[in-house]
Symmetry: C2
Subunit: 239 residues, 2 copies
Amino acid sequence: MDTRKNVEVCYTPGEYEYFKGEYDLIVVIDVLRATSAICAAFENGIRSIIPVATIEEAQDYKDRGFLVGAERKGQIVEGFDFGNSPYSYMNEDFIGKDVVLSTTNGTKALSIASDAETVVVGSLLNLDALCEWLENQDKNILCLCSGWQDKFNLEDTICAGAICDYLINTGKYTSNEDSSIAAKYLYLSAWVNPLGYLKSSSHRRRLKNLDLNEDIKYCLTPNQTRVVPILRDGKLVKI
Amino acid sequence: MDTRKNVEVCYTPGEYEYFKGEYDLIVVIDVLRATSAICAAFENGIRSIIPVATIEEAQDYKDRGFLVGAERKGQIVEGFDFGNSPYSYMNEDFIGKDVVLSTTNGTKALSIASDAETVVVGSLLNLDALCEWLENQDKNILCLCSGWQDKFNLEDTICAGAICDYLINTGKYTSNEDSSIAAKYLYLSAWVNPLGYLKSSSHRRRLKNLDLNEDIKYCLTPNQTRVVPILRDGKLVKI
């Protein structure tokens, strides 16, 4: 009998309904840039992040005196102090604070996944630490990519493929969905040079136009932190 | 100014809404097995195929005396004479006939795409003939994969990637979506041995369990026909 658990990949929040209910543990991924920024924030000593899906919710928290970030289409929303650049959080003012964040894709995915038993945050920045933690969970895992405006994107898929590859190699997990198999293939062919590979990525081109090249380089450099953020009672905290 | 047209890939009918309206020409792909069977049927001299999305519509045509095929979850629906095995159509009785067909994924995709100006049928079986025809259309092209039960599948994606690769190499087309770029990568790494590559595909495993190995081999063998089926007034005919 095959006692291995499954690790699968869902490319977009919109497709989550076809996976829903079969997975106890969801890894939400938005490499460019929400989940990378969240990892960077915890690495920098933030106490918690409250992810909210809408600008209205974000504004409500702002009115109540919280530090609130909001990003749409790659840019900071007017009236908010920061967006989802990892560099925004490398600031002493954030140490020990609770911060609210709303982004185009990433916090939407977090909100969709929040019915699952366990929800954690993945990015290339915390890849090894995350995989080592996942390895011992003995749960069916779904990597939920945030995509870009409801469509597939390469960087999230490659990150998800890296997680599948690691977990399958432990012998404790297997992948059955074609989406997972393709993610693993894309990861294996991309890994030699993720930045070069993603040159052709549409999303990366879009951010480059917004002059976010430093952010992109940072977000595509694996293993800069050992933090694994987890969702507890609607708040992200460090495991 | 870049005068190239776009060729993009949509992985599932469910995601079509995010692409809709931007493309004048849709290539519907269901390699295992609907669009392969359709190509095989025209190669065998069928006059037309009327694709219908539901079993009810199929039954209605059957009651009116049509030759009607219906497949769900890989098997012939009870009460119908054939499903979507390409071998069903290699039969003298079909020559010159109009046939009605309803399948799990493929005819659903055809029905979703039918609002576009031009809809054609793609598979590995008619790959070169299709690409040569597409090359001269000077239209924005969307390859609409049928997927498997609303999820991504490898074989349709690889076929779509092959079409993108061909058209991009003509210099007349370009791809901007990450889904198209990934499809091209998957095609390029799969092409040496599509059958071997797809060994790990979930859908292929499912069909193998149904003892359809001969169908799979046939459907994954490129360029067995020069036909390009096109949708005209709700009927598929040869171009």
